[in-house]
C-alpha cells in the first residue's frame, strides 16, 4: 500500500497543473466562471439534500437539548445546559458509555484477529471459496431487527443453543444468556460479532488481494516460516485496511441500538445498556425529548472527537494516496 505515493498525486489538482495545451482554450475569466458553474451543478444537489435532511434535523435536535420538553405542546421550558449536567454526571449514563467502550474494545481485540485469520484462510484456493465468502457475508445483509429476533429465540433458556450444548456434552456451560446481568452484555457482543464479522472479512480479503503474491513468495523462499511471512509482510501491508476497519467498527459500536433493544431492551437492570438504549429509555419512554436530544449530542461529540483524533494520528499516512491505485 505504500508504493502508490506518486499515482494519486498525478490525479490531483489537475486544473492548475495542466500544461498549456495547444488548441482553443477559453480565457481565464471564462474558465473561472465555467468552473464555478460546473462545481455548483455537481456539488449543490448533494449539499442541499444533505443539509436539508441531515444537518437541519441535527441542529434542531441540538436545540431541543436546551429545553425541558415532553414532546407534547410547545417548547417553552428553557433550561440551558441542565440536561447536559444531568447526562454527563449521571451514573446510569456512565454505565451505558462504559458498555459502548467495552464493545468497541472487544471488537478490536476479538473480532479483528478472527477476521484476519479467517480472511487469510479464505484467501487460499479452497473449494467453494465463493460460496464461503457469500455465507460469511450473509449475516451482514440481514437487518439488525431480523438478526436480533433470531438470536433472541436461539438464546432462550432451554432453547436451541442450550439444547445443542447439552447434545455435545457441554451442558455444564449453560447459563442464562440474556437474563444474567453479568453475561448479557457479552451475549450481545457475540451476536454483533456474528452479524458484522462478514463485513470485516470481505474488507480484509479485498486488502489481501492487493498484496502481490511475489512478496510473500520471496519471503517464503528465503526461509521465513509462514507465521513470519504473515507477521512481517502481510500484516503491515494490510495496515490501511485494518485501520479503516477499526474506524468503522468503533463508530458502529458507539451507535449500537437496534440489536440490543430488540434482544434485551438494554436490560436486565441496564446490564446491556448502550448510549442509544439509554437515550430511548430516558428520552422517548419518559417523554423527556430534550433530555434524549442531549444524549444524542453528547454521543455525536464523542464520535467526532474520536473521528478527528483518529483521522489525524492513524489515518493520515494512509489517506495521502495509500488507499488507491491508478487505474491503468
Amino acid at each position: 500500500m505504500a508504493r502508490t505515493q506518486s499515482a494519486p498525486a498525478a490525479g490531483r489538482d489537475t486544473a492548475s497543473s495542466r500544461p498549456a495545451a495547444a488548441g482553443a482554450r477559453p480565457p481565464r475569466r471564462r474558465r473561472g466562471l465555467r468552473k464555478r458553474v460546473e462545481l455548483t451543478a455537481l456539488l449543490a444537489p448533494a449539499i442541499v439534500l444533505f443539509i436539508g435532511f441531515v444537518i437541519v434535523p441535527m441542529i434542531f435536535a441540538a436545540w431541543y437539548s436546551l429545553y425541558n420538553w415532553s414532546g407534547f405542546g410547545p417548547l417553552n421550558d428553557f433550561i440551558g445546559v441542565q440536561n447536559y449536567t444531568g447526562v454527563l454526571t449521571g451514573p446510569v449514563f456512565h454505565q451505558a458509555l462504559l458498555h459502548n467502550v467495552i464493545i468497541a474494545v472487544l471488537s478490536l481485540v476479538i473480532q479483528l484477529p478472527i477476521s484476519i485469520g479467517l480472511a487469510l484462510l479464505l484467501n487460499r484456493r479452497v473449494r467453494g471459496r465463493t460460496f464461503l465468502r457469500l455465507a460469511v457475508f450473509a449475516p451482514f445483509v440481514l437487518s439488525e431487527a431480523t438478526a436480533a429476533v433470531m438470536w433472541y429465540e436461539l438464546l432462550q433458556p432451554g432453547g436451541p443453543l442450550d439444547a445443542l450444548l447439552k447434545a455435545v456434552g457441554l451442558g455444564g456451560l449453560i447459563h442464562y444468556w440474556l437474563a444474567s446481568t453479568s453475561l448479557v452484555l457479552y451475549s450481545v457482543f457475540v451476536v454483533a460479532t456474528w452479524k458484522y464479522i462478514g463485513f470485516g472479512i470481505v474488507l480484509l480479503l479485498a486488502g489481501l488481494q492487493g498484496i502481490p503474491p511475489e512478496l510473500r513468495e520471496a519471503a517464503a523462499i528465503d526461509g521465513a516460516t509462514p507465521w513470519q511471512v504473515t507477521r512481517a509482510v502481510t500484516l503491515p501491508l494490510l495496515g490501511p485496511t485494518i485501520r479503516i476497519w477499526i474506524f468503522l467498527s468503533v463508530i458502529g459500536s458507539l451507535q449500537l441500538f437496534d440489536l440490543v433493544w430488540i434482544m434485551t431492551l438494554g436490560g436486565p437492570a441496564n446490564a446491556s445498556s448502550t448510549m442509544l438504549t439509554y437515550q430511548y429509555t430516558n428520552g422517548v419512554q419518559r417523554t423527556e425529548f430534550g433530555y434524549g436530544a442531549t444524549v444524542s449530542v453528547v454521543l455525536f461529540v464523542i464520535s467526532l472527537v474520536f473521528a478527528l483524533g483518529y483521522q489525524r494520528y492513524a489515518l493520515r499516512r494512509d489517506t495521502s494516496g495509500a488507499l488507491t491505485r491508478a487505474v491503468t
Binding site: F72, G90, Y176, A179, T181, T281
Partner: protein, 439 residues
C-alpha cells in the same frame, strides 16, 4: 433561522395539505370534512375517522373491525378507518402523531397521569359536554379519565390485577384452596416447589409486571388517604412505601419465580411469563384480567381458560390499606380536537353501549367491561371472581405508572425492574419519581 414554529406550521399546513393530496398515494389520513355546524348529530355531513387502537391480535382485531362496520351501518355518513398498532409502539408514535397536523381522530388511551401528559399537547378533545348525557352509566370508572375535572378520555374496559393460577397444578401440589395471606402464599409456593413446579412466572423483562408486586404491597400497607395524596404529589417518602419494599424483599427471598425471570417477556411467545402459565410450566402469575385473552394463543390446549382460577392479592398483616383494595386500570380512547369530535364521541358512546360491551367481553376477550351492566355475560368463573373483587373493592388504586405522569411512571417501573434484578435499593425506588432522578 429559528422563529416560533407555530405560525410557520399553520402557514405551511394549507400548502402541505394540498401537497399531501397531490403527492401521496391513497392514505387513510383523516380529513373530516365540511360540516361547519358541529351539531351533535353527525347525520348531515360525511366524516371519516382514523382510529388507532392496540387490538392488533385476534380476537380483538376482528371484533374492532366488526364494531366499526356495525357503527358505519347505523351511521352511514361516518366511515371508520381502523389502524391496529402494537401496544408498545404507542409510546413512540403518539408524541409524533400529536405534533402532526392530522393526528388520528380516535386513539388508544390509558388515562391517569399519562393522559394528563398528553393533554399538554392541546390536541385532546374535551368530551365533557358531548358525553354528559351518558357518562354517568360508567360510574366511578370514568373518573380516572378526567384531567382537571373534564372528560378527556373514555374507557371501554376495566382491569383489575390479581393472581391467575392453574387449578390442575394446585391440585397436584395438594393445595386445596387459594391463599388469602402472604404467609399462606409462601407456604403454597413451597408445596409447589416440592412437587417440582415453578410457583410463579414473572415477566421481568417487560418491567411493568415487576411493578405490580411492589405496588400491591404499597396498596396493602398504605392507608387510602396516604396513598392517594402521595400519588397526587408524586412523592413516595411516606413510611408505608418503605415497608412495602421490605415486604417485597422478604417475599423475593423465598425465590418464587422461574429462573432467568429478568429477561422473560410478559406476553410474547411460549417462553413469556403468560406462556409459561399457559403451558403448565408455572402455577401462578400476578396479572391483569387480560390474561384470559392472552393465554389461548400461547398454547395448544384449547381449554386453557377453564383451567385457570383467580384469587385476589393476599392480605398483608398490619397493613393500613384495605384488604379488598385492588390495583386497577383500564383501556379507553381519546378524541383529538377538530370537526370530527361529535362523530368521535358518538362512536365512543356506541362502544360503551351494553350490546357492544357484551360483544367485547364475549368475543373480544377484553376482560371486564367498563359498562358494568355487561358483566352479566361473563361466563368464566375466574373472570367473574375478578369482576366481583373489583365491584366489592373498598377502593381502586390505579397502577402507578399510569397514575403518575409518564416520566415518573416510567422511572418507577425501571427502578422496580432494576430492584428485581438485584440492582437498587429502597432509596432508588422511592426517589425514582423525583424529577431529577434515575439518570
Amino acid at each position: 433561522m429559528r422563529g416560533s414554529r407555530k405560525p410557520a406550521i399553520v402557514a405551511v399546513a394549507v400548502a402541505a395539505a394540498l401537497a399531501i393530496a397531490a403527492c401521496s398515494s391513497s392514505s387513510s389520513s383523516s380529513s373530516s370534512s365540511t360540516s361547519a355546524s358541529s351539531s351533535s348529530s353527525s347525520s348531515s355531513a360525511k366524516v371519516t375517522l382514523t382510529w388507532w387502537n392496540n387490538g392488533n391480535t385476534q380476537p380483538l382485531l376482528g371484533v374492532w373491525q366488526s364494531v366499526a362496520a356495525e357503527f358505519h351501518a347505523s351511521h352511514p355518513n361516518v366511515t371508520i378507518n381502523v389502524d391496529p398498532i402494537q401496544s408498545d409502539l404507542f409510546t413512540t408514535k403518539m408524541p409524533i402523531a400529536l405534533k402532526s397536523d392530522n393526528p388520528p381522530d380516535v386513539f388508544q388511551q390509558w388515562g391517569g397521569g399519562q393522559e394528563a401528559t398528553q393533554f399538554t399537547s392541546g390536541k385532546l378533545a374535551n368530551l365533557s359536554s358531548l358525553t354528559s348525557s351518558w357518562i354517568t352509566e360508567l360510574g366511578q370508572a370514568a373518573a380516572g379519565w378526567q384531567v382537571n375535572g373534564a372528560q378527556y378520555g373514555i374507557p371501554y374496559d376495566q382491569h383489575v390485577v390479581g393472581f391467575w393460577y392453574r387449578k390442575d397444578l394446585f391440585a397436584k401440589a395438594g393445595i386445596t384452596s387459594p391463599p388469602t395471606t402472604i404467609a399462606q402464599l409462601e407456604s403454597d409456593d413451597a408445596k409447589l416447589k416440592a412437587a417440582g413446579i415453578t410457583p410463579i412466572s414473572l415477566g421481568g423483562g417487560s418491567r411493568w409486571p415487576d411493578a405490580f408486586y411492589w405496588e400491591y404491597f404499597a396498596v396493602r400497607e398504605c392507608s387510602q388517604s396516604v396513598l392517594q395524596s402521595s400519588i397526587k404529589a408524586i412523592n413516595m417518602t411516606a413510611p408505608c412505601f418503605t415497608q412495602a419494599t421490605k415486604d417485597l424483599t422478604a417475599f423475593m427471598a423465598t425465590n418464587p419465580f422461574q429462573g432467568g425471570f429478568n429477561a422473560t417477556q410478559a406476553q410474547t411467545g411460549a417462553g413469556s411469563s403468560a406462556g409459561l402459565l399457559a403451558n403448565g410450566k408455572a402455577a401462578m402469575e400476578l396479572q391483569g384480567d387480560w390474561e384470559t385473552s392472552v393465554v389461548p394463543a400461547l398454547t395448544s390446549d384449547k381449554n386453557i381458560v377453564s383451567q385457570l382460577g383467580w384469587f385476589p392479592f393476599p392480605q398483608v398483616p398490619g397493613g393500613a390499606g384495605a384488604s379488598t383494595a385492588v390495583l386497577s386500570g383500564g383501556d379507553g380512547f381519546s378524541c383529538t380536537t377538530g370537526a370530527s369530535e361529535p362523530a368521535c364521541a358518538e362512536f365512543l358512546q356506541y362502544i360503551d353501549s351494553t350490546p357492544v360491551q357484551e360483544e367485547l367481553v364475549q368475543k373480544g376477550g377484553v376482560g371486564l367491561p367498563a359498562n358494568t351492566a355487561a358483566e352479566t355475560v361473563l361466563t368464566d368463573p375466574a373472570l367473574q371472581a375478578a369482576a366481583a373483587a373489583h365491584r366489592n373493592a373498598a377502593y381502586d388504586a390505579e397502577y402507578f405508572d399510569i397514575a403518575f405522569p409518564t416520566n415518573p411512571g416510567q422511572a418507577l417501573d425501571t427502578a422496580l425492574a432494576n430492584f428485581f434484578a438485584g440492582k437498587g435499593s429502597n432509596e432508588t425506588i422511592i426517589n425514582s419519581v423525583s424529577s431529577s432522578s434515575g439518570h
